[in-house]
Symmetry: C2
Subunit: 563 residues, 2 copies
């Protein structure tokens, strides 16, 4: 190693600059260079949908740092407009090409950092994707192009292909700009990779209420254009949808060509393989951000989880390690949060489906309630689906949806799951309580206690999806609503199996119910429904359970019978 350590970083967006800045703070004398093929560095790309939608007024707000800042403040050289084309590992040199001039040169390194990011998926077989008016949204330049198109062509109809995070954020942005928006998704749900259906259905309801047309369970076949080569139609397996502007939001694939060409190990996920220190298979080459695969902290499996938050954490660890330090990254929980119009939607850890697939014996609770004291102004409902391992009682994951504060509960679960907390641990967390901020029992306490009650054999429930299925099949069971008449009149499930006996009348009405009836109780949030289950069992009923989450979590139509 020479006197002055030479560190070369490929990629100037999130992980790269963070690694370089951290390296500088650890080693005041290192020679540090960032190579970036674009004209800018450190874009706040997660903010792009809000720039397109107008909540963020200027793209300047998303330019977090300039090359000049890096030079003046951190003495870091930034080579923009420069592409890394080959790693000469034996020589410890990075071959780069200045894009404008085509001039090639070699940058010697002691440690190389690959932060090459990810590229939007663009199916090679998708005809018409090169038409004018078809965009992706990953860079400020993309957003500027979309905004230019909006002001130039004043399009009426937008189609977003893909109902993942960027897809839904793009849909909201275009709706905010006054367009008719359709979303097409090959799978049968929105956010299909992130949520169980009990939660994603609520996001679908919100999208529909906000005027977004959903075309689910249908693959896009082709995009059709007009005589000016401008997109005019999105053709799916089932529909032909008018489109003046199209956003392709089909996910990302990690940029690993440079690494692959250099013989570095690529993981089974398609991401660059790294160890806990974020070293690639070449110990002098580190990698982080969207181009690498991560370890899931619950399953131990490798996953792709491209997030700006993870990229920043990677950057710090790499900056430490390339300057002689020793730091490790423990992995991710796949934490995701997204605003879907007025709904907040989040998940952490494993969904129920993922937990099943990973071999856990799962137990779940769906628990709705207010995000602060119910009587405090501004209190909003949220619904939490908590997933735990029935054997170890360890919390495996959580999903939440609602107009209220889901971010807080998500992050509490992040900490709890990361530190191997059980539902018992969660149920006794001394969470901050005061009416403007929470109820005396947080919803996570309630959800954890429901799971403990289930594990103890006291609480029994079934999913609203299964109840809906039973109703649709015309099965013989009693769907016993134990709310008040007023609540029933405001909104109830319109099914022949459904009947109302308010909880305070249930003891005296018990004799009207046949002892061998299959009974599913429900109320507003399941608190009374669970009480009804216990009461009926105490009276000798054998087949009673409550519907998870009751009316608030019910994602299907309800009927209003009040005047």
């Amino acid at each position: 190693m020479p006197d002055q350590r030479r560190i070369v970083v490929v990629g100037g967006m999130a992980c790269g600059p963070k690694a370089a800045a951290r390296a500088r703070r650890c080693d005041p004398h290192a020679h540090i260079t960032i190579v970036e093929q674009g004209a800018t560095v450190s874009e706040g790309s997660c903010g792009l949908p809000y720039y397109v939608g107008g909540q963020v007024a200027s793209n300047k707000a998303l330019l977090i740092r300039t090359p000049r800042y890096f030079k003046e403040v951190s003495n870091i050289e930034v080579l923009t407009g420069t592409r890394a084309v080959a790693i000469h590992r034996t020589a410890h040199e990075l071959e780069v090409v200045e894009i404008a001039s085509g001039a090639a040169s070699r940058l010697p390194y002691d440690k190389l950092v690959l932060a090459t990011g990810a590229t939007p998926v663009s199916p090679p077989q998708l005809a018409g994707k090169e038409l004018d008016g078809v965009f992706t949204l990953t860079k400020i330049a993309d957003a500027d192009a979309i905004l230019k198109e909006l002001s130039r062509a004043a399009p009426c109809n937008a189609v977003v292909v893909g109902a993942g995070l960027i897809g839904l954020e793009s849909a909201e942005a275009l709706r905010a700009r006054g367009l008719n928006v359709s979303v097409v998704e090959a799978l049968d749900r929105v956010l299909p990779a992130l949520l169980d259906a009990e939660i994603s259905l609520h996001a679908e309801n919100e999208l529909s209420e906000q005027g977004v047309a959903l075309f689910l369970g249908q693959r896009v076949i082709r995009l059709e254009g007009d005589e000016h080569n401008h997109v005019r139609r999105v053709v799916t397996e089932k529909e032909s949808i008018e489109a003046d502007i199209v956003i392709l939001a089909l996910g990302y694939h990690p940029n690993v060509e440079l690494a692959r060409d250099a013989g570095l190990e690529i993981g089974s996920t398609g991401g660059l393989a790294v160890n806990e220190r974020l070293q690639t298979s070449d110990p002098d080459i580190y990698a982080g951000g969207d181009c690498v695969e991560n370890t899931h902290r619950v399953t131990g499996q490798k996953i792709l989880a491209p997030m700006g938050s993870t990229a920043n954490k990677h950057g710090r660890i790499i900056g430490t390690n390339v300057t002689g330090g020793d730091d490790t990254f423990p992995g991710v929980l796949g934490t995701t949060i997204v605003k879907v119009f007025d709904l907040n939607v989040a998940r952490v850890g494993l969904t129920e489906r993922e937990a099943h697939e990973a071999g856990f014996k799962t137990v779940v609770a769906i628990t709705p309630g207010y995000d602060r004291a119910s009587y405090y102004p501004g209190a909003q409902m949220i619904t939490i689906k908590l997933v735990a391992d029935a054997e170890t009682e360890r919390v495996l994951g959580g999903q939440m949806v609602g107009k209220g504060d889901v971010a807080k509960r998500t992050d509490v679960l992040v900490a709890s799951i990361s530190l191997n907390g059980t539902v018992g641990d969660v149920s006794n967390l001394d969470l901050a309580y005061s009416p403007p901020f929470n109820g005396a029992m947080d919803l996570l306490h309630n959800a954890a206690n429901v799971i403990r009650n289930k594990i103890a054999g006291q609480a029994r429930s079934i999913s609203p999806l299964e109840v809906n299925d039973r109703i649709c099949k015309g099965e013989d069971f009693v769907l016993l609503d134990v709310r008040s008449q007023q609540e029933w009149d405001d909104a109830h499930i319109d099914a022949c199996q459904c009947q109302l006996i308010p909880l305070n009348k249930l003891r005296e009405a018990v004799s009207t119910l046949p002892k061998d009836a299959r009974i599913v109780t429900l109320c507003r949030t399941s608190v009374r429904a669970y009480q009804a289950q216990r009461m009926l069992e105490g009276e000798g009923f054998k087949d009673v359970c409550f519907m998870d989450g009751s009316i608030v979590a019910w994602p299907y139509a309800v009927t209003c019978s009040s005047k």
Copy 2:
């Protein structure tokens, strides 16, 4: 034990009803009775300041359950207006008196639950405390009496005695009603038992800005009244303050007389002693809520921490245990959150002072920043003070203040501390990120990393309190502000030691600073100040540190020099 288990609960507010309801769900056949001396049960007493202030329109919102509800729904007998006067432990009988009639009777029990709550401290030596217009605020009846006084007498001047939680909440409520409000506190800070001065000073600034007059470091000597026996003045050691209405908010003491008379063990804190199962020294008598002492999860010491949230958790555990189950309570973290006008203020675990006193070698970070992406509409600043153990790197506590979301970070720390997390654990939590909800790095990540940098010997800082002290003493050091000229003009520290060299000019200006200077760097949030510290050290400076939290966390006056 007879066929039908007999459970008697003393106290109908939070823990008692929760224990009874939980017992019912665990045992459908038990005979369960709640004894309550007041006329109501299940008051949401934490909401009282907001009812007084007008945010909660009706006291009905704070009446969570009625005796009739307990009877109809849970088959629980509620005896209101009934005082428990003696426990006959050998006979397993509770002696009660119906207050209205004076009739005494005995309730046999298999398990007895004491949830007798706490009573506001009312110093026996305080003259004038019986005057009209002097109130405490713990029950709906208190709030109704205050509101009646406000509408009857239209008082102008309110004095709140005690600057703890209820004191500050009462001050805000009365200010919302248009009164001139003064707060008197014997100690020299607001929230003195909860916060270190770096945080409480911000709450004081907010109170002053909102027009609340603070009289700190002065004990109240007496209350003086007029010829109608109505309070007119609060006399302290130093001042005489006009008062048409007085709220005494001097804390609570646990109601343990019944237990003490029965020979049950009382802890050194004055609270009823219980084990992890919430059993008293009599295994057939359980106790929970504000009348018991709790175990602090960090220190293992016994503390009084009367909170509705804790009372509810106690209730569930007791309900389980009195019906043959086995559940334990792991203790508390002293978590507290309070709205102080437009500021949110919270703490969890140990303050720096408490950590010192408990014998930890502490290391702290004071980290300000935005509560979501800085460019996202509505982003607000908060300041976090994180406290860790330098030896184990375990997180010991956190305090936070600001207009932004402090509740989320508090609760993440609750989970992290409860599960013995280190600063390394916190720095890598996969917290939910999307611009409407957070920045790519949460402030907790930043604070944890600052502490890691300090433990690693890279970051060095001093408290703003110490900087202020040095300025006041006229010490010879350079207070080096590395922000931009514009930022300086907007607000800077007016001290002869303070000078401006923007960070991007610092490298070239290094030669103007004497190498042996004592330098304290500062910026807006300490990010640039830390970079400046590292840069100057790289240039050979030996005595450089940054000011914790920089300008945002600086709790003293600043000067504006822009036009």
